[in-house]
Every structure is written in structure tokens, then in C-alpha cells.
Symmetry: D2
Subunit: 381 residues, 4 copies
Amino acid sequence: MRTGVWLVGARGSVAATSIVGWLALRAGLAEPTGCVTELPGLRSPALPALGELVLGGHEIADTPLLKKAEALAAAGVVPARLVDALHDEIVTVDDDVRPLPTGDTQAATAALIAADLADFRTRLALDEVVVVNVSTTEPAPDPLPAHADLAALEEALAGPDRVLPPSSLAAYAAFTAGCSYVDFTPSTGARLPALHELAVRHGVPYAGHDGKTGETLVKSVLAPMFALRHLRVRTWSGINLLGGGDGANLAEPAANAAKTASKQRVLGETLGYQPQGTTRIEYVDDIGDFKTAWDLITFSGFLGTAMRMEFSWHGCDSALAAPLVLDLARLTAAAHAAGRHGPLPELAFFFKDPIDATAHSLDEQWRILADFVGSLPGGEH
Amino acid sequence: MRTGVWLVGARGSVAATSIVGWLALRAGLAEPTGCVTELPGLRSPALPALGELVLGGHEIADTPLLKKAEALAAAGVVPARLVDALHDEIVTVDDDVRPLPTGDTQAATAALIAADLADFRTRLALDEVVVVNVSTTEPAPDPLPAHADLAALEEALAGPDRVLPPSSLAAYAAFTAGCSYVDFTPSTGARLPALHELAVRHGVPYAGHDGKTGETLVKSVLAPMFALRHLRVRTWSGINLLGGGDGANLAEPAANAAKTASKQRVLGETLGYQPQGTTRIEYVDDIGDFKTAWDLITFSGFLGTAMRMEFSWHGCDSALAAPLVLDLARLTAAAHAAGRHGPLPELAFFFKDPIDATAHSLDEQWRILADFVGSLPGGEH
Amino acid sequence: MRTGVWLVGARGSVAATSIVGWLALRAGLAEPTGCVTELPGLRSPALPALGELVLGGHEIADTPLLKKAEALAAAGVVPARLVDALHDEIVTVDDDVRPLPTGDTQAATAALIAADLADFRTRLALDEVVVVNVSTTEPAPDPLPAHADLAALEEALAGPDRVLPPSSLAAYAAFTAGCSYVDFTPSTGARLPALHELAVRHGVPYAGHDGKTGETLVKSVLAPMFALRHLRVRTWSGINLLGGGDGANLAEPAANAAKTASKQRVLGETLGYQPQGTTRIEYVDDIGDFKTAWDLITFSGFLGTAMRMEFSWHGCDSALAAPLVLDLARLTAAAHAAGRHGPLPELAFFFKDPIDATAHSLDEQWRILADFVGSLPGGEH
Amino acid sequence: MRTGVWLVGARGSVAATSIVGWLALRAGLAEPTGCVTELPGLRSPALPALGELVLGGHEIADTPLLKKAEALAAAGVVPARLVDALHDEIVTVDDDVRPLPTGDTQAATAALIAADLADFRTRLALDEVVVVNVSTTEPAPDPLPAHADLAALEEALAGPDRVLPPSSLAAYAAFTAGCSYVDFTPSTGARLPALHELAVRHGVPYAGHDGKTGETLVKSVLAPMFALRHLRVRTWSGINLLGGGDGANLAEPAANAAKTASKQRVLGETLGYQPQGTTRIEYVDDIGDFKTAWDLITFSGFLGTAMRMEFSWHGCDSALAAPLVLDLARLTAAAHAAGRHGPLPELAFFFKDPIDATAHSLDEQWRILADFVGSLPGGEH
């Protein structure tokens, strides 16, 4: 099953790391560390093989992909030896990275995006195309009546106003082109009733939101631990210090608010109550791609005894995200091939703010994911 | 089902906290925070109610239980108001704390211990008695041929030599008296083939070893997190700083070795390989009952990117252990009532070094435990 | 030298801890831990003895001082045994805590405050009175022309508008009453040209701002360490999690801004450049009086090698501040007695944002302080 | 003043980093970050310029210096671009790295070492040669009577037994060749009465022991902070996790004991009492050159309030040590030129366990060092 992976933000850090890593895996130059679909419990013939993937995407920046890969190597995100060894292949992928088109109306823009997707599918003889949003986090848009209803949305898009934020316009275009859609960011993406309607109409699945790569991943195992031991979490506060392009953007109050809400959700969902405290995101340019998150948890035990835990997480977000992008593309393509449409809550394992999900403990999410893979046609082989 | 809980080390910190807490719960003066058998997922009519428990035990120290409770209140382990309010009840429980008897041979000592257990059961009209070892950690004993075979053991015990360490002699006595046995410490306890044979002969169950109260609890959720995300843990090193009586004892090299081996086991079992590093235990008298554990985990992700995590855990071991002692007594009594004998691997959730257990991730252990409770006669009501 | 210490905010946490501690020291019930004027290097006959101090103050809250002391004991800030033992003395001090008066104009209010100060001095036969502001942090006021010139200020105060924030009005009243003034908070206090003019006219000294009790104290030794080793600090970011009354107030954006600017100043001053990063203050009610501060410092060494340091500080602000309040009162009274007027930059050791100070490394500040004490008349005895 | 720097262990991590860094500084390819003699407060014409240094040394390993430099670049200790750019210069320095000679007796070995030093001086027309020990830490040797007296030592060295550990034999050879000696390790080095006698006889200075590069550096500013604030440090415990060659060696109990004693000394010296707790050193191979140290400090403040601080230090020991090696060579050569002989306690700033030093707070050590530099002939220009 030849599967196209169309990255929105295709020369950003996450996308470039995904591309270099995918090329390295394909060439046998790296181990699939971080790729959960390569674990014994998830590996399945129902998923497209890594070698069956073809990567491309949209990008607004002009910097060539190779320059970006070299910058990532200099920053320690990917090994310089891989960028050297895969020089030609990186340039070849860059041929399939297109400038994000713009029309006179949002409807026209969507049509141009969809045309690029159709061209990608046809030209490269792909069975499936999955669009994955790994572009910069947007501020939450103001709600509009057109978001709630597909007919109203189509009418509004034909007018002069900006109706959808870019992530949602990408989802719109993907669905009309018959492509599935994954939102790896906390942006709005497909999370509007009108877009759900459109996905169902076109019979395509979608998944999201906000890849769970670091501090929230830890929360998704520590919060259940406190719950299973009947310990009362009193406060859970944290700070994320991060640089890089995404950091600068997340420091914008509106984007920050979207992100921090997403990061605390797991606590209420797994504990059954919301402890005091919040998670701050701070942009510190010099910290670059390696994020440091620190959390303080205060809790009480038997007879009210006050106790506490602290943790620091020093992770490279792009390196944590990139293998999950490949996983999500494979899983979403397989779901589409199996006839699924609408949201894929079974992929909650990957997200901070999973769509329609009931389970928020990592372990429960894993079991649901493993059951899902096992249930795919051909998955039981 | 009136259930006796016989604490070996009945005036130690863990036992005294269990007793004060049990009295407080019975009197409605405290919430059952930390008691996992009071969580919705485990609460069951198959377990003896907290009000059906009766506590007693053996102790070598002379300090009255009330003095110990007051010392714990001064150290912030239990609230002073509870010790004040439960003054009379604490004194009453102390009436059922007996000096540990000594005979001319270990066989004679065991008979005296068993007689105390039988008297406790008869005098207080108990349906069951569970013996729980919460005494100080012993050094690992030298292996003897008599440990491997019950007949040989019985012969040896009748002789002049010390054949069994105290924790194992307590298990021996418990089994001969028809009592179940729980080892909350890393001592040998029932972990000898001859004692297994004895438990089976008397039809009693046993459980252990080494209550999972702090750093190892955290490991049992973090290690699976790395495994489920296919991240490679390279090193996992830590140090435990603790004071109090148990701390001083654990600083002895032999006891320390028993404990640290127990603390790393979860890593190999859940990761499938043993990362570099060890866990140190350091005695620092002034730190008292509140232990600080610090762990450094280094791991690599996609394309080998080096990342790291640190955590500090500042917990009160006695407050973390005490509610689990009550849980274990209730669960073991119910297992006995249901006809179980031999080891209870379903109680692995509670232990660092669980007997015969296959699951080491906390979440899997929880599911096995919940299934076990659900399967008890009357448990499904 | 009988010395009055007039606390603005006399039933707040800092003031109440100062009062209980002073009573305990006077009664020989506690060691002078935390009192730097009791260190061998600073102890001096030039300073009023602890037994020569008399404490009183203004307060807007009605809660009796004893209630506040009991609440602090319950929170673990002061020992309950001291509050019990000093019950009568605490009630007696409360007799000298007066409601903050209010006149028709700010001039009238200042006159009422000054009258309370004069009455305190006369009634208790005090040689000196030092006013110490330990009330809640104010937002920074809008600048007014009247702040720059004493004649203009006096005219404006007689009018109907609010010209000075409360901390500055207290300084104004103190100076007109011939009292020295210390600002332990980041509020404006005496930091206005018109008030400087007034202090000089009345021949009284003043000191401030913002007691250096925790995270900034640590910064004032770590930043010089990096500087002396020629290591380049790239980023220094932190977060303070605190509850209690002051925490709630500091979470207000305006007060927060005043405080965080004060907290980063030491970095630029000791390093010679401003590293990236900021210090956040977060209010988490449940954390109460014990503050946790976490800082991440990234730095580069020889040939640009990237390194990092983290620290967590878990301190009780009131317990850290209270002995310094006593120190500052003794030192300022002695300076006044020695004929000093205007700012006392020699007390920079105590402050995050010291007035007119040139030294910001703790060690240099200590030497300047020790020289100052040695230079006081009678100090060399 | 042409100054030879003879490194004992010249292809070890510290030496190789010193060499690459010195070459880079000389070529204008790097900033002198980490070099304290390049700070405004210490820069002095009394010191040999970096361009006047000439590096060489002894080594037992065969790996070429270039290979070692490449390995350090791969480990992130030095930038790969510098190793590339300085390829030829590194090979040239390696010409002056000689195998450590061995004679029939230790006297004969010392004569061979001294001959290498004399040859280095003559051949390269050096005014001074400073021998710096940066080889692996030795176990503390058993004391011998010959250590106490120079005549006895000379007699013993002529015999068949091993009388001196290698670091001391190097000091012996250095002194007889008229070279000054610096011990950057915790080994015995010049710390024997007989060697002191020899240094005085030959009129050469020496300095040591044990470069203060990380955790102890932090201790040397934090301990004075607690002292200056009259806060009582109750416990100070820590652990160092390190890999690399030195780590493996320090894990040997004897070497470990030497090192940990050295690391706690600063506490007793600056606090005036020894708090509870120790510092552990653990070897974790995979951690490599980047060491992580974690310390927990518990302390009490006013009225006994219990508080705590933790810090983690993640530093590259070789990168921290290398610039100090250059500093020490320049300072010791200047002291020799100025006619100093015997120990140089003024260099305590650089050492964990400084010889004959009275000051242990970093700040006092800095002032003593700055005064020393200022007092050198030509230093005041």
C-alpha cells in the first residue's frame, strides 16, 4: 500500500526530522527507536511498511530542506553523519515540498491545496494520502456560525472573509481531496462540526490533537499512579522552557492558552478532580530545540501527611515528535484503508488532547491502540 | 468476617501508623486516603470491612505504643490531634502487643509464637488471622540445605543451631498455626522451598516481598512509559536518603544489598533489558521519617538523540506503607477464606519484588489485582 | 538604647513571626538562628540589644495577633510550643498594634500616623523608632510630578487626590515624626525624590527594598560564581510557586511585574550582562507559606561547551524574613543614632533591589555590612 | 617569558582538551571562556601570555593525541570544527608527548623523567617549565617513614622497592629538574614532607590539590551563603554520576575515598561544623564525560523551621578543568619567576583540597588570588 504523507509545515523542525529519520530507516542507517508501530505489540502487516511511504508537503518558508536538516544536525537534533549520507535523498524529497498556494477566497485556496494533494497522489501512484499538520501552533480563532454547519461553511468560504484558520483550511482541503488528516498541533484543525460533517461525507478519518511528546507524556503515567494508590494530588504546577520557532510562537498569549489548557487536561481526566496549579510555557530563545520542563506535585497520603515530587524533563521535542508522525501516518492510512471515517479516538495514545477519547492513562490508551491495530483487516496475521 | 492482623514489629513506625490510622478510620476521624481497597475499582463485600479487623502483634521493644504514636506525631507522620483523640484505643491495642517469645530451640520458639497466634484467634473470636511482617529488614541469611525441604527443616529447627532468620521463623509459626503471612519487608520471610511446602500443607496463602511505597512505585510507571514509547533507557541511577530506624539498618551493607537488588528489578522486567546504573541507600539520621529519593534517567530517542529525566520524591515511608498493610491484610484474609493457598502473585501491585509475578508495570498489576478481587466469592455482588 | 520597631502590617505573617521570634529570643526559648546581627562577625555593642527592642505597629485586619500566631503554628511556620508559652506576651504586644488611621486627605492621614508613632515613642520612653514595612506588596503607582519635589508633594497631599501609595505615605509620616524607615517589600516606600528630600530634612536614614530571602539569595552567590570562573551564563529562568496572602497578591500582574524585575536585577549587576530568561511568580493557594522556587541555568564553558544547573529551593518565607526584620531594625536604629541620614546602601546584604548599592554579590555585600557595623561609634569595642 | 607546560597524562581527556583549547585560543578561533586569568580582575603582564606557552608531556597510552581529540569532539567535549582546523598543530604538539620512562629503581625512573624535562626546556628554549599532573587519580599510598624526610627518601628510592606513587615521583623529578609542579588530581603528588623539603632546596613552588570544577565549586559558594545568613545546615548529601576513564577509576573504593573526603572538606571549613551526610561517586559508563551531580541540603532557620534545597549540576569535567590547567600553569610560572618556592596557598581558588589554605569560601579565595596576582613583579603595570 503506497502511502503519501503530506506534511503541512514540511520544512519545520518536526517535519525535517521526520523526513531525515524516515530516509535513514529506509536506508537501514538507523534503528526505529521512538517508532511505536515498530514495537512487537504493534507491528502489523495491516500497516503500510516504512518503505511504502512517500513524503512531501506544503511550506511557506523558502529555506531548502537540506539547509534545515543541516541546522538540525548543528543543533544536535539529528546526527550530522545521516544528513551527509542522505544528502541526495533529502534534496529529492524537497522536490515534493510545494509553496502553500493562495487564492482570492479561502474556497479558492482550498481548491489549490486539494489540487496539490491530487497531483501528489496521481503523480506518485499513491493508494492513500495522509495530511499531517506539523506547522506552527495558531491562536484559537473566534467562533463563527459557519463553523457549525457545512453548508454555511461552504458559502462563507466563497466570500471575502477569513472564515477558517490555516489548520482548518488544510483539513477542509484534505477532506475534499479524499485524504485523511492528522493534527499534531493544538491548533483547531478538523475540530469543527462543519469539518466533521465533511469528513463523514467524504468517508475519510481524522485524528488529533497535539502530540504528547514530553511533560504531558509523563503526566499521563504519574497521574494514574497517584489515582491507583488513592493518594490525593493537591497541586500540580509546572513550567516549560523552550526555544526554537515553536517556542517563540507559543509565547504568544493566545497560542499559549491553547497549549496550556491541553496540557492540564490529563490531570482532571485521570484523577477525577482538578488539582490546583497550572503549566506555564516560557520562550527562551537560547534553549533551542531541547526543552526543559519542570513539575512540582504536592500530594497527601494516609491521615493527610503532606508529600511532594518534582521532575525535570530535558527532551528534544522534534526527536520525540518525528517518529510519532510516521506512526500516525501509517495508522491513519490503515484505518482509512479499512473503511474508517470520522474521528479515530483509538489513537489517543499519541495526543495531549485526544478527540472523543475516554481513556487518558497512557496504559489504557496503549491497550486501546493495540486492540485497534489487532482489529485491522490483515492485522491478525 | 472478623479478621485478626498480627503485626511482627508492632510498635515500629509502620505498625504504629497502621494502628493509629485504622483506629482513626474506624472512628470516622480520617479519610481512607492511601487505602487502595477503598477505591471504587477494588471496594468489595468479599473483603473484611475495616471495622471487622482486630490488630495485635509481637514486638521486642518495650516503649509503649502510645509513646511511639506521640513520637510519630512530633515527627509529622501522623496528626497529633488523632493521637490525642484515640489515646484510650491505642492503649487498648497495646494490650494485644506481646513480647516476642524465645524458646530453647527455634522449634520451641516457633511453638510459642504459634501459641500466641492461637490465643489471639480464640480469645477474640477471629475467623482469620493474617501475620504481617513490618519489622526491620534482615541481612540475607546464608543458604542451608534445610531451607530446601520441610522434613529437613523440621529436624534442624529442633536442634541447637539458628536455622531460620526471624522473618522466616515467623512465617513458619504462622503457617503451623493456620495463619496466612505477608512480608512487607525485603527479608527472607516465606521465600524458602521448605516454607512453601508448609504453607501448602496447612492450606494457607502468603504474599510479599518488600512494600512498594516510593521510588520503586514511580519506576513501575515510568519504566513502562519508556517501553511503550520505544525509547531506549541507557542509564537509571538513584540515591535514597533516609533516616529513622529502618534507615540505620538499611545502611548495613548486607541489608542494603538485599534492598537495592529489589529496587532495580522492575527495570529489567518492564524494559526487557537492564540499563546501567544502581540505586544507593544512604542513612542520614537527621532526615528522619521523610525520605528523599532522586533518580536520573538518561535515554535515547529517534536517531539516537540523547535526552534525560530527573525526579525527586520526598515521601513519608510509614504514611505510604501503613494503608497498604491494611489493604494486604484484608486481601490476604479474603484469599484465605476463598480457599487459596500458596503464593498470591495477584498482589504484585503492592511489592517491589513480588513472588511469582509476571507483571511489573503498575497498570498491569492493577488489572490483575482488580480481576482477583472481582473473582473472590461474593466479590461480584 | 530603647528602640521601637513599628511594623506596618503588624499582624501579617512576617510581622507575627518576627514578634513571636523576638519574644522567644528575649525569653531564652530559642536560638537566634537566621539573625545575622547575632553572628560573631556582626555582633556589636553599637546595636540595640534584642532586649532593648519594643514592638508595635499598624494593621488593617482585625484578627488578633494571637490567632495569627496560632495559624502560623498550625502551618508549621513557628513551633506551637512557643505560641503556648508566650501567650500572654503576644497579647501584650497586640495592645501596641493600632488600626491604620484615615484622614480626609492624605496629609491628614499622614498626620494621624505620625501621631501614633509619637505616642508610641513617648509612652514607652523609646530613644528611637524604626518603621518597617512588611505589609502586602503594592502595584507600582503611576508617576506624578509631585513625587519629584517635596514642596509640590506637600501641596498635593493636602488636596483630595491620592498622591502616594500606602507604603510611601507611611515613609512620609515616619520621616515627619523623626523615625527611620525600612522597606522590606518591593513597594515604592521611600523611593521617591520628594521623600528623599524629606528624610534629609528630618535627618533620618532609610533602607530597602525587598527582603532577599530565598531564590534571589541563592542567585546572589551563584551568579558571582559563574562570573569568577569566567563561565558564560546563557539563560537563567525560574518559577516561584507560593501560596498564602502574599502569594495571592503577587499573582496580580502589576505587583508581579514589580517583584520579578527586582528578582532578575542581581544577574545583570553581577554578571555584567543580562542572560535570557525571566522569573515567574505563580500563586498556588494550597502551597501555603512554604514556597518552592526552581531555577534552570544554562551556561557555556571552554570552547563553548554547553552545560546546565538546576536548583529547587523549598523555604518558608516568613521564617526567612522575620529574623532579618529584627536585624534591619537594630542596624537602622544604630545608624540613626550615629547621625546617618538618607539611604543606607551598606544594608544591601538584606535586599533584592538595594537602594544606591554598588555591590550585588552576597559576599561583597557582607564585607560592606561588616565594615559599616565596625565603623559605628562603640562598634569597635 | 617562554613557559613550558608539561602535562602528566598528556593524552587524557583533560590534557587533550587543554591542548586543543590552547591551540584554538592562540589561533584566535575561540574565546577564553573559563580562563580566569583572562578576566579583567586577573589579567596581568606578570603572567606569561597564552602565546608564550609551549605544551608537551608524558603519557603511558599509545593512542595518538589526534585520535583522542577526535573522540572528544564526537563526545561533544570540544567542537569538531576546531579539531579539523587545528589538525596539524595537534600532531605537532604530539611530537612533544613522550612515553613515561621506567628505570630499574624509582631513582633511575626519576632521573629519566627529569632528563625529559631538561630536554624539553633546552630544546625549546624555555624560561620556565611547569609540570601539571592531570593523570588518573591514584589510591592513597600506605605511609612510609621515607615520606617524612628527604635524606631517607633518596636512600629508599635507590633501593628496589616502590616508595612513591607515580604522582609523587613526578613531583620529585620535577623538583630535581628545577620545575614547579601543580597537582590537579586528588593524588598524593607533592603532599609529603620529604618532597616539600626538596622543593624548598631547589627553590621551586608547587600547588594543589584536586581541581574544583563542579559540585564542590557550587558548595564553595552555597556553604558560605548559609553561614552568612546564620542558617543551620543539618544535612548535606550528594551523589556524582560520571563515566569516562576517570569515572571508572574513581569507582575503585580507595580512590573514591580520597575523592569524597576532598569533596566534603569545604563544608566543615566554611560552616564551622560538619553537617550530616556524604558525597557518593558512582561510575556509570554510558554517562561519559558529562557528569551529573545532585545534592540535597536540609537546613533550619528561625525558630527551627525545617527547609531544604536541591541542586543538579550537569557539567563536562574536561571542559571545566582545561582552562584552569592553563591558568594554573601561567600563575605558577609567574610565581616561580617572582622567586616563590614551596606551596602556593594563594591558588586555593582552583582546588577542592587546597594546600595550607585558610580560606574556603570562593569569594575569599578570589580576593586572595587577585591580591597575589597584583603583588607579582610587573603585575601592577
